[in-house]
Symmetry: C2
Subunit: 755 residues, 2 copies
């Protein structure tokens, strides 16, 4: 019986990499860092790999060094792995050619990430791994957290048998950071699958002073070509070896994989071909469209290199009339992106009579939803389908983007979808991860969590997207429809469209100091009130800041909000939730003493009892007045580009919005127009205590505490509440002093409290 794990994709990869490896040479880079981190942690705790040894991990000075160390370590006979992404992977390319050329078994686990071009992006696409497709590495793609577990295993098994090194990759963030409840492959099972003869051969072939050999020679035009061709048979053998390792995994897990997996109608006429996390979005859409009688299907590419034309052609239904190949990368100047070119080449080679169209999607983790998938199938149905299209954006410049004609909801019945708006470092994400673990580990339910951060990290917005259901959850995209939405920061009500996509009759939980309809009438924007009333939302408020303060937890409201969530979302019985939360508290805080445990237990109770249901009037449905967002006069660039981004509406910006800044060079000094107002507590000037030392101003990292000197005339013209005191110091004679806070810029970080 396989162990159930509720983990992210990185941890799943690390689980396997750790099992198979003696050593890892690493350098951290988002979104891969977690893989090395958890290996490091396991090693520190003495966890044993399948050889009964603790992994040895070395952090190098860069990924170039890590790749060199991997090559050296492999040459010395240690089974060695590494974890990387993006530019880090690019730095490994020279060594990858060497490792492949020397036919050394190895697996690089890559959380595929966008490459820095006009701008960097830490998010996921296939630009980095596609830059390695010519190195001679085999490339195996995992589309979900479960697949990471399974295909990472296949990679390690197959590299040993084939001697060809493997790049095992999965989508950065979407898969690397998505938390899912999956079946682990236990180390005992791995130990049964591994080819120990191959391990022995690998170790025997290593550098050894007992049998010196010459490596790294220089070859001239006379023999290099012949020697390079001598490796053909190793590559020819890879597809069958990978198939056999997939069969091994199937026999242990019951989960079946092929080099190319077809899903859909056996008589499909329209077929999408892609790899990575997008596969599951297409699969979900195929189910939906087949339900409507459409003849559609999808070929999921697993083994991208070596590309087995035989297996590929075998996976396409004979009824296929048109194919859309989706690439999650952009290669400017190429006829088409790489998977598209490969498919065209294969189709041309065997003379298959089928239309092939190529498109780009999901660059830098751009969302890829069932509605977009449907647009791709719709395009295939056109008389003259758009080729080299994009999907997921509005390209109003080169006109390449597909129109999304219909927003569809393909979620299977019985899935609970819960969204949480938090402030970076407020504990929301951590609490949600705990919620998933509690539900995943204590029940038969499946759980999925994805956490969207903005780049401000601490103090920025976080949006947690959680799904719970009775069957494995596949949807690899953000929530488009939500049953439950919680907002943990009251300043968000005027800044974001919090209720976008909430279901008719859904639950909205707000953390705010406003517990009466009257206050909310005043504090909520009109549009939010409209939505609440029109959609008959069950609306609750909780003043978690106040409750937390009383308990002694200060601004740490996560336990209170988690408890409130369990009560309102009703995914598991309240009593069970309370029990599991309290067990988790003992596990997490037990070592910190009874007081902390008790405070957290009190928070659980406060969450259950502190909720106030808001009995809003029906008139909210047509309300036209309410809170309005702060508007600061700003530049055109700020208003047209930055402002929508800050309002979480950047996805809606068309290509034309970037024409003036196509090269990634943008005006500076735009932060001053951004008035966030996120501080839940702000400093107050205690005029009678002030000695005018200005230290409070000095320690404010956000420059929100600002000392001023004023003339009598200025003071005379100031409003009544504008208090000042006589400036000290001979130089300032006749002037008044004032310490002024800019509350909309204050983040409430509390640095000033230490002065």
């Amino acid at each position: 019986m396989a162990t159930k794990l509720t983990v992210d994709g990185n941890t799943a990869a690390a689980h396997v990499a750790y099992a198979f490896s003696d050593t890892a040479a690493i350098y951290p880079i988002t979104p891969s860092s977690t893989m090395a981190e958890v290996c490091d942690e396991w090693a520190a705790h003495g966890r044993k790999n399948i050889f009964g040894q603790v992994m040895k991990i070395a952090e190098m000075q860069s990924e170039a060094g890590a790749a060199g160390a991997v090559h050296g370590s492999l040459s010395a006979g240690a089974l060695t792995t590494t974890f990387t992404a993006s530019q880090g992977l690019l730095l490994m390319i020279p060594n990858m050619y060497k490792i492949a050329g020397e036919l050394i078994p190895a697996v690089f686990h890559v959380s595929a990430r966008c490459l820095a071009t006009h701008a960097l992006s830490i998010f996921g696409d296939h630009s980095d791994v596609m830059a390695c497709r010519q190195t001679g590495f085999a490339m195996l793609s995992s589309a979900s957290v479960q697949e990471v577990m399974d295909l990472a295993t296949v990679s390690h098994l197959a590299t040993l048998k084939s001697r060809v090194p493997f790049l095992h990759f999965f989508d950065g963030f979407r898969t690397s950071h998505e938390v899912q409840k999956i079946d682990a492959i236990d180390y005992d099972d791995i130990a049964k699958m591994i080819d120990m003869n191959a391990v022995k051969q690998f170790r025997a072939a290593s550098m050894n002073p007992e049998h010196p050999e010459l490596r790294g020679t220089a070859q001239n035009p006379d023999i290099y070509f012949q020697n390079r061709e001598a490796s053909n048979k190793y590559y020819d053998a890879v597809p069958e070896i990978v198939e056999s390792c997939m069969q091994q995994v199937y026999e242990v897990t019951g989960r079946k994989y092929n080099l190319f997996d077809y899903y859909g109608a056996p008589d499909a006429e329209k077929v999408i071909i892609l790899m990575g996390s997008g596969c599951d979005a297409v699969e979900e859409t195929v189910d939906y469209l087949m339900g409507k009688g459409e003849k559609v299907g999808v070929v999921k590419v697993r083994l991208y290199r070596p590309f087995s034309i035989k297996h590929f052609i075998g996976a396409i239904p004979k009824t296929a009339k048109s194919i859309a190949v989706l690439d999650r990368t952009k290669e400017p100047g190429a006829l088409g992106e790489p998977l598209f070119a490969d498919v065209c080449t294969a189709v041309k080679e065997v003379g298959l009579d089928v239309t092939v169209i190529g498109g780009r999607y999901g660059l830098a983790s751009k969302e890829f939803t069932p509605s977009m998938v449907k647009a791709v199938y719709d395009n295939l149905g056109e008389k003259a389908p758009l080729n080299h299209f994009t999907v997921g954006i509005n390209d109003d410049v080169t006109g390449l983007s597909l129109k999304i004609k219909e927003e569809i909801d393909t979620s299977p019945a019985g899935v609970s979808r819960c969204k949480f708006f938090g402030l970076g470092s407020d504990g929301t994400v951590g609490a949600n991860k705990n919620s998933i673990k509690i539900i995943g580990n204590h029940t038969d339910k499946y759980a999925q969590g994805y956490f969207a951060y903005d780049s401000k990290k601490s103090g920025g917005i976080t949006v947690s997207h959680l799904r719970f259901g009775d069957t494995p959850i596949k949807a690899p995209y953000l929530l488009t429809v939500s049953d439950f939405i919680a907002c943990h920061n009251s300043s968000y009500v005027t800044r974001y469209d919090l209720l976008e996509g909430i279901k008719e009759g859904g639950v909205f939980l707000l953390n705010s100091p406003w517990s009466t309809v009257e206050e909310l009438e005043h504090q909520l924007p009109a549009q939010m009130k409209n939505t609440i009333a029109k959609k008959k939302i069950k609306f609750y408020n909780i003043d978690a800041i106040d409750l937390g303060g009383k308990i002694g937890l200060g601004s740490r409201i996560n336990m209170i909000m988690m408890s409130a969530f369990f009560k309102l979302a009703e995914i598991i019985p309240e009593a069970d939730a309370v029990k599991y939360m309290k067990e988790a508290i003992v596990k997490s805080y037990g070592s910190k003493g009874e007081k902390i445990v008790n405070m957290n237990n009190a928070a659980v109770e406060a969450g259950l009892t502190g909720i106030v249901e808001i009995k809003y009037p029906e008139s909210w449905a047509t309300a036209t007045e309410g809170a309005v967002p702060v508007v600061v006069p700003a530049t055109e660039y700020f208003n047209n580009v930055v402002k929508p981004i800050l309002a979480q509406q950047g996805d809606n910006l068309p290509v034309s919005a970037f024409i003036d800044n196509v090269n990634g060079i943008v005006p500076s000094g735009t932060t001053k127009y951004e008035k966030r107002g996120i501080a839940i507590k702000a400093p107050q000037w205690i005029i009678e205590n002030c000695i005018q030392c200005n230290q409070c101003s000095l320690v404010c990292p956000h420059a929100c505490i600002r000392p001023y000197l004023l003339t009598d005339e200025q003071v005379a013209n100031a409003p009544e509440t504008f208090v000042t005191k006589k400036a000290t110091g001979k130089a300032y004679e006749g002037l008044q002093f004032k310490m002024q806070l800019s509350p909309l810029d204050c983040t409430g970080c509390g640095n000033c409290a230490d002065v």
Copy 2:
């Protein structure tokens, strides 16, 4: 009137790069180093670019640093270039994405080179540039030294107009190091062509504290994709911009280029598509085959990225039935190599009804000759042509290689082909470069020189391949047929097949101490004598070592051999040759004083008069006896692999010879079986002077001077000529001392003479 230059491809590229660039950030790597070297030299001499400034060159700590410096320098508004190849280029990839993403005009000049895989190789193929095809750089390919001059200019012109950076590449060694007489594009003409508005815009857009901007931002999933697509129109514009710049170059030079150039029968049925130096070999073969009535043609790819499908399809004759796409790279695991995949994609996209076959050739400067080209056309004529073939090797393992059924000689009439065997550092290559310059600069004749070194460099073999003719010389391959062959080192007669490919009635000039038929009867191997007599070779000997010694030039025989070459090869009248050689001597050595000049003039005379024609007997045609090479008992690996390589027969080794060492790991300690015997002077033990200090042994870098202690018994068993002296020192009482030379290992380096 354009200046004529007799230069190599690197110098041609540097000529253009220097003209257009304010700065260059570089790191040297073979075969690109010359480009930076000559720029550095020109800068040191104050040469001005077209802006009237001296180029500023900075050598960084690696190519990664060079690429970063290029990016920074460009951002600061300096027109910046760089020169690199192979792994050096790989280290630039991360910055290439940035430079392209930021749409900064720049040209990287790359002498395309093989990448280190199972072994490194410094030689030429397209593996390195193909590893950059996804970076967003435009890629323009030059196929000859003249094209380097012309298309380097196009690259610089087009990048400024398009803002897309260019990778301008040409084949490492074959083009970078081939010396050709070409037309330069003068700086005045370049200054007329450049778009100064674009230069102004580039400089105005640079980083400047007067108008600060924000670069290098991080973008999130919401906007990265749209911003990336905003660059489409810049790439869409490149093909037309490159065409217009080609037109500018045409107007100045009369040399016409297109994005894809077709050459051959207008009604061709078989078409080869390729890029790089191989184009000229195919063109020569097309002429030959068309002369025989075959309907063949070739599409030469110039602008590889952006790949303009419109221009590409337009270049293929409508009559084409089958296409062979040749790639000078290998991507193990790919369905086919990159140009092949692009052609398949293009053909599939427009629905062209034509068979497309892919093949690999010329890895690591593997020869690509007209006979191989014919084999490619022959394959296209087969009922079931071999796909994914190789040509130029014998693949007896995977059976992918094409058979060369017929060796053809496609040289146009009137071309003189001269081959020289020299010893690294003996001055042969330098003298040949001078010969080309003399003929190129003083006559209307065209000249081409290519110099093959082995990796031993100093003390290794060099083979110079020279062609002279009345029309531009295109043959981008080694001599397969020679009118004149010179051997500058007498030890080669038993080691190499010196006369391979010599024409009936051709000239053979040997430098040896053997000036009589009797001596030569004894010193030459039987096979060589057979060839000389059967092919009625005009055979001359010269004892250049002796002549040089008498003049006072020691072992520097290059001037003597050059003079002898001019006399015997009769490419230009002897009197003219003497005049030009003497002028060159004054130019080269004038500053070193009259004595040196006179010695070299004496060498010229000695070369003319020192030649002895060998009146060999007809019986040589059937001689069965003669000198035999030294054979040392060795390992199987040495005999089967290393020995043919050392005999310059490595090209004939089949793929199966490398099966046991496919990963590039080979047995060590093979040098000991290699008995080169290349020393023209070897040290002699002067027994009466010897104080047994052993210093001579210590300074011998090749460990050929070996001290021994012997017992009386050993001495008694030694041959008579084996002299010894009493060993000094108490510890050695009763023993005899001997300093023994290993003459076959001695290189004649002369280190021991200094002791």
